[in-house]
Amino acid sequence: MTVGDVRLMKGNEALAEAAIRAGCQAYFGYPITPQSEVLEYLADEGRKRGMIVLQAESEVASINMVYGAAGAGARVMTSSSSPGVSLMMEGISYIACAELPCLIVNVSRGGPGLGTIQPSQGDYFQSVKGGGHGDYRLIVLAPSSVQEMAGFVYDAFDLADRYRNPVMILADGALGQMMEKVEFPAYDPAAHAVPKPWATTGKPASRPANVITSLHMLAEQMEEVNHKLQAKYRLIEEHEVRYELLATDDADYLIVAFGLAARIAHRAVQVARAHGHRVGLIRPITLFPYPHAIIRSLAERMKGVLVVEMNAGQMVEDVRLAVEGRVPVKFYGRMGGVIPSPDEVAHAVEQMVGQTSDVSMEAH
């Protein structure tokens, strides 16, 4: 095995470099802060190393180019930030229905509206619950370091191919902009390539025509397609749940946080423990499929659960569903691009401890 090489890079650049190494053949995108470095890096490095890189006229065009390239059998991606990803929603729904493998990266920023270019997790609902029309799911990976901005790219492409499903990497402006050490693992795209006999590559006489479509006019047919998609989503839920645990073995209290918020919560756990509170952390890595089962079983032995997000409280709904009222679920969040400090989060933990040490407690 070749030893991976180590570099100091911005999250966006690390992601772009990983995409080249993952054998991504084509990138279609439109500039938007805080992710333009992905397009810039690929326009230079990517093109030099044989990638097709096209700066499209809009995110609408980008995502439909992704549809075309994925349908033509290529390993393909786009990236954007919140307003741009909103524009892609119709195309993402088509891609999900036509079961086209691809990678969509959202280096999200504070909204709603034009909002701010500061980091936010306000796109959780959009990424995880649909966003576009109809019953579809993306596989959603949430990195929390520059290392993972790179590392998740390989996994994302492999998952996309394995399930013929669009995969989203949901990052944020801080992860995209900050510089950290990153190690690129050895990865041989050829060894990971899967046959795509369904792709439109030109119809030889020997096979029927390949058609990429999301149109099924008869209600019964459309329902069948939906059943097939749902069965796939259940399979994904069964096999692809990913999460990380920190200090949960002896914990009385549990923090649930993803992405950048989990990094802050990690530090808050240390602060809270120094103050004598036994606090642990679960970091969902896949936001779909969501680690419901492990959160439920952990919650059973906790006195309280605190969800920390950089939004008004979105993932907290999934935690409440998982916990099903067994213990109080509290929420602490900052919005609009404000990043909470570890001390703020530790303070929220102390508040929870104060409120939940009472025996007659109610779910919040």
């Binding site: 053949q25 439909n64 075309g68 033509a72």
Partner: protein
Amino acid sequence: MTQEILQDQDTASFEGMECVYERPGTLSEARFHYCPGCGHSVVHRVLMEVIEEMGIAENTIGVAPVGCSVFAYHYMNIDMQEAAHGRASAVATAVKRIHPDKFVFSYQGDGDLAAIGTAETIHTCNRGENILMVFINNAIYGMTGGQMAPTSLMGMKTSTSPAGRTQETAGFPLKIADMVALLPGVSYVTRQSVHTPNAVRQLKKALTKSFGWQKEGRGTCFIEVVSNCPSGWKMTPIQANKWLVDNMFPMYPPGDLKVPA
């Protein structure tokens, strides 16, 4: 509907007769769902004839629009992608970038290409994507039941311009072929029709030339077919073709707007 479309044509007995004209192998046996007299079916057939005659069926990938021709892939027996409304040229761009050695065409109506997809149309042409864009201009939204299109004529009555199109409420008919002809990336722009056998022959020539130029990498070829919509226009096919000559041609005159140097 799909099942019905896929059913074979009723077959009468033609024993002892010589076959002088038949379905090209590039057309599937599915029965067209188009209204009687609709230009879409003729253009489908001519396009597929050209692809068969040029022997490029194995190397051609088509992109269908959203509009009455959304099911183009049921009839065109080649690899096809069905694009979102207005985005066929973006999809075709990507297909061509991935398979530069294949022939790629997009096929779109006027709502698709000249309203919701205007940005994609202009920018595909401006990049000079080496594809063929086939544009069916019937001056109306056929699929959704006869609403006004960007190409609807002044005074034209549609379900959303019941008193006739006026400049005050809807502006002017959009001559998008003229617009793309201005772009250096576009090598060939022509306006054709299928209302007479001679017009059909002319369209065939235009299609054949376009695929030839695509092979040479000459950039975007854009063929507007001034077509009809008997149902949306509320006319018989014969009336519709006469109306087309009398009313569509003055606004959208047939002929080449730009030919490769």
